[in-house]
């Protein structure tokens, strides 16, 4: 840059003014610009990849949050539901959902009669095919809860069948319907008629977020409630265990541990655990927590413990790096004014290392939240229909629900899988937001 350092003969000749850049300075400045450009390019690559992925998820998943409902009047026939007429709850409970088929059919007949004057294609059986198969269950539980309904005509808003819902969302058209064995083009015509008559309506569907999963016959009824609860329980466990244990282990290894072979073993061990495929933690969970310790199958407590073990290495590695990055002068200063080693670390080093620790925690929790494989062996990749009341009850998790949805044959599950991913990302965002705000508060340069 200056004459003193420029020993090369090429530089000494052309050097005339400070305002004219010589060849070497130009080269160095060009290198500088290139370097900066590479950096921008790298950030842009990451952001573009994210945007692309998010666009594909959002465009597929947004429809999952709305659902088509069909308004019908149901006449609860006493002859079928309570032939003896004494409203004995036990006897009513004996009538299975299969017996509700004719009730719905009869009720739809009156709707068909009403509409068929103008639209002859409307028939009761076609209408029944447009309703969700979940309707029967809703009727039955309503009747059991309130036997007085028997004999009355009640207005219901039932979910429409997945294909009809797909038609209103533009996923199904008449060409597809002609090929599809589960819906006919006539039913799509009827759907148009019903929309005109105000009997069919698409609107936001909270049940997608709160309802439990449903079987493959009723994609329209499937929700994420159980999975959300399961994931929340597990994240609570992971956060409460992995963060303190991880930070404690890192502090010991980084600040207290004598540099000897035992510490080396622990250190290698931890980085090795990070490389263990996640399913192996599932094997461990099954062998130790379920078979040996007798914890229940499919329970978030086991999932949380397994995920804790899985995320620990990530958190420890990043925490150690963060602790390492705190300049020794901070420690020396604290010790110099009379703090004990423990106080120097907990009061001064740890807060300064917090941004790095939180980053590690974010990444670790994100990994734990998105993991399916270890849950496979401890029974959380499952069909669970009851809400877990505690950490010991069966539940699934959000990534499991995504995985399950993508495996199912009905095309209506594709949008639900993407919808589930959106919920998962929102969940992650909420978790991250806290960490990011904290990180910003701690971040500083010295």
């Amino acid at each position: 840059m200056t004459d003193a350092t420029a020993n090369q003969p090429s530089n000494s000749t052309g050097k005339t003014s400070l305002f004219v850049e010589d060849a070497r300075t130009k080269k160095r400045n060009a290198a500088e610009a290139r370097f900066k450009f590479y950096g921008m390019l790298a950030v842009a690559t990451g952001v573009i990849a994210l945007v692309l992925l998010l666009i594909s998820i959002l465009s597929q998943g947004i429809p999952a949050f709305s659902q088509t409902f069909m308004r019908v009047n149901i006449t609860l026939d006493e002859q079928v539901l309570d032939p003896s007429g004494n409203r004995d709850p036990e006897e009513i409970a004996k009538v299975m959902t299969f017996a509700y088929d004719p009730i719905i059919n009869n009720s739809l007949q009156s709707l068909a009669d009403e509409l068929s004057a103008e639209h002859p294609e409307v028939t009761a059986s076609a209408l029944q095919g447009m309703l969700s198969k979940a309707s029967k269950g809703i009727l039955r539980s309503d009747v059991i809860a309130n036997p007085d309904l028997i004999g009355q005509t009640v207005e219901y808003e039932f979910l429409a069948n997945g294909r009809i819902d797909g038609y209103l969302k533009g996923r199904v058209d008449r060409e597809i319907a002609a090929l599809d064995g589960n819906v006919t083009p006539e039913q799509l015509d009827i759907a148009d008629t019903l929309v005109e008559a105000g009997k069919l309506e698409k609107r936001f569907n909270w049940d997608f977020i709160t309802a439990p999963d449903a079987s493959e016959l009723r994609p329209e009824a499937a929700g994420l409630g159980v999975a959300l609860l399961g994931s929340a329980y597990m994240m609570l466990i992971v956060f409460c265990l992995a963060l303190p244990i991880g930070v404690a282990a890192s502090i010991y290894l980084e600040e207290f541990a004598p540099k000897n072979w035992v510490t080396d073993i622990i250190e290698v061990n931890i980085s090795n655990l990070a490389a263990v495929p996640s399913i192996v933690f599932g094997i461990l969970g099954l062998a130790i927590f379920i078979n040996y310790m007798g914890l229940p199958n499919s329970a978030p407590i086991v999932g949380g413990l397994v995920l804790t073990l899985m995320t620990l290495p990530t958190i420890i590695i990043s925490t150690r790096a963060a602790l390492k990055a705190v300049p020794p002068s901070i420690r020396d200063a604290a010790l110099g004014v009379g703090a004990s080693k423990m106080q120097a670390i907990f009061h001064h080093v740890l807060p300064l290392a917090m941004p790095g620790i939180l980053t590690g925690t974010i990444i670790g929790l994100a990994q734990a939240l998105g993991e399916t494989a270890p849950l496979l062996l401890i029974g959380m990749v499952a069909f669970v229909n009851n809400y877990p009341e505690s950490m010991f009850d069966p539940a699934t998790a959000l990534p499991v629900q995504v995985y399950n949805f993508t495996q199912r044959s009905d095309p209506a599950f594709v949008e639900r899988a993407s919808g589930a991913i959106i919920v998962l990302l929102l969940f992650l965002l909420c978790m991250n937001l806290i960490a990011i705000i904290l990180r910003r508060r701690f971040e500083r340069r010295w």
């Binding site: 409970a93 299975m96 959902t97 299969f98 198969k133 029967k136 269950g137 039955r140 539980s141 597809i176 319907a177 090929l179 599809d180 064995g181 589960n182 449903a214 079987s215 493959e216 016959l217 009723r218 379920i290 078979n291 007798g294 914890l295 229940p296 199958n297 499919s298 407590i301 496979l376 062996l377 029974g379 959380m380 990749v381 499952a382 069909f383 669970v384 229909n385 009851n386 009341e389 505690s390 950490m391 010991f392 009850d393 069966p394 399950n404 993508t406 495996q407 199912r408 044959s409 009905d410 095309p411």
Partner: protein, 345 residues
């Protein structure tokens, strides 16, 4: 110091957990991912119709399910194992070693396996022999084995279009692969007389069978370790592809897939039930008898599963694509009587 607050919240959490954790009151099922959709349909309907909580149905493969099943007897072990194949002798032995001796075997019906390609592509009418010719690793020509180099379908059978062979078959982890190898490839090998030719040339039967069923690994046939949705996605990105699917999956995706006939028979629930369509396999679940009466609802679940309203030809399972078992009545009686495996029934 927020110590008091901290311990108070820890106390609250622990107290809630302590009161809530109690004996298991729902049926626990695990096993085959092929049976999973059927089992979850039944579990859902069971939860709707009975006072018992909805059973929990885990997936994870027949192997993992049976392994958990054979882990022992007691509340922490599962009650029912779903399987897309019969339990093996070795597994029964392993079960017995852990005290799981009385097992009720229930056959719920049949799963049809179909060949389907993109809806806008060419249609195919296969015979097992075509598949053998297309996918065998080595052909037996003039007394020796030569590597299979066929690359388009018209080389396999002049009636087919000149479309590259691209088969998406189940990976070696799937039970479907076994059925595919035995009922399609081996059958084609035998039917076309290739196996006879090999044996006539002095190859012993086991080796001949082995050679018949060896599938080429040069990338023409792609193993799918995932599920049918992956196969479908691969066909969508490679329109020449032909995939192996379950009948139920195909029936839900008729708008995207066209099915190929096998020996002139179009796969359907009826054709499979009558045995006309050859490629199918039975599906099972196994019940731990020691848990009946201990786990509430287990007996009812098993009975409900095979009842006519559920597993019969007009029930929801058939609606989804299960080929119902013609001998369902026998199965119902067997469960009602609690007849265990190997007791001569």
């Amino acid at each position: 110091m927020s110590f008091v607050k901290l311990s108070a919240s820890a106390l609250a959490i622990a107290a809630v957990s302590a009161t809530a954790a109690s004996a298991r009151d729902q049926v626990a099922v695990a096993g085959s991912s092929t049976v999973l959709p059927y089992a979850s349909i039944v579990a859902e309907a069971f939860g709707e119709n009975f006072d018992f909580p909805t059973p929990v149905v885990e997936s994870g493969g027949s192997s993992a399910g049976l392994k958990k099943f054979c882990e022992g007897v007691g509340e922490t072990t599962i009650d029912v194992a779903n399987a897309s194949r019969k339990i093996r002798e070795k597994e029964i032995k392993a079960c017995a070693e852990n005290g799981v001796t009385d097992i009720i075997e229930v056959r719920i019906g049949y799963d049809g396996i179909v060949f389907a390609s993109d809806i806008n592509g060419a249609s195919f009418a296969f015979t097992p022999e075509d598949w053998y010719k297309a996918l065998a690793a080595e052909h037996f020509v003039d007394g020796e084995l030569v590597a299979n180099t066929l690359s388009t379908w018209d080389q396999v059978n002049p009636e087919f279009p000149a479309q590259p062979i691209a088969a998406f078959i189940p990976g070696t982890k799937h039970g479907t692969r076994e059925v595919f190898e035995e009922k399609v490839i081996l059958a084609g090998c035998e039917h076309g007389g290739y196996m006879e030719a090999m044996m006539a040339a002095g190859v012993d039967e086991d080796t001949a069978e082995e050679k018949c069923m060896a599938i080429r690994t040069d990338g023409v046939s792609v193993d799918i370790d995932g599920d049918y949705t992956e196969t479908l996605a691969r066909i969508e990105s490679n329109k020449d592809g032909i995939g192996v699917f379950g009948l139920a999956f195909y029936e839900n995706n008729t708008a995207k897939l066209q099915v190929a006939t096998m020996s002139g028979v179009t796969p359907s629930v009826e054709a499979i039930a009558s045995g006309e369509y050859p490629v199918s396999r039975p599906l099972f679940f196994y019940v731990k008898k020691a848990h009946i009466g201990v786990i509430p609802g287990l007996q009812e679940y098993a009975e409900f599963f095979v009842s006519d309203a559920v597993a019969g030809p007009n029930g929801p399972l058939a609606q989804y694509g299960l080929v119902s078992d013609p001998e369902l009545a026998d199965t119902q009686k067997m469960i009602a009587d609690g007849v265990i495996m190997g007791s001569g029934s």
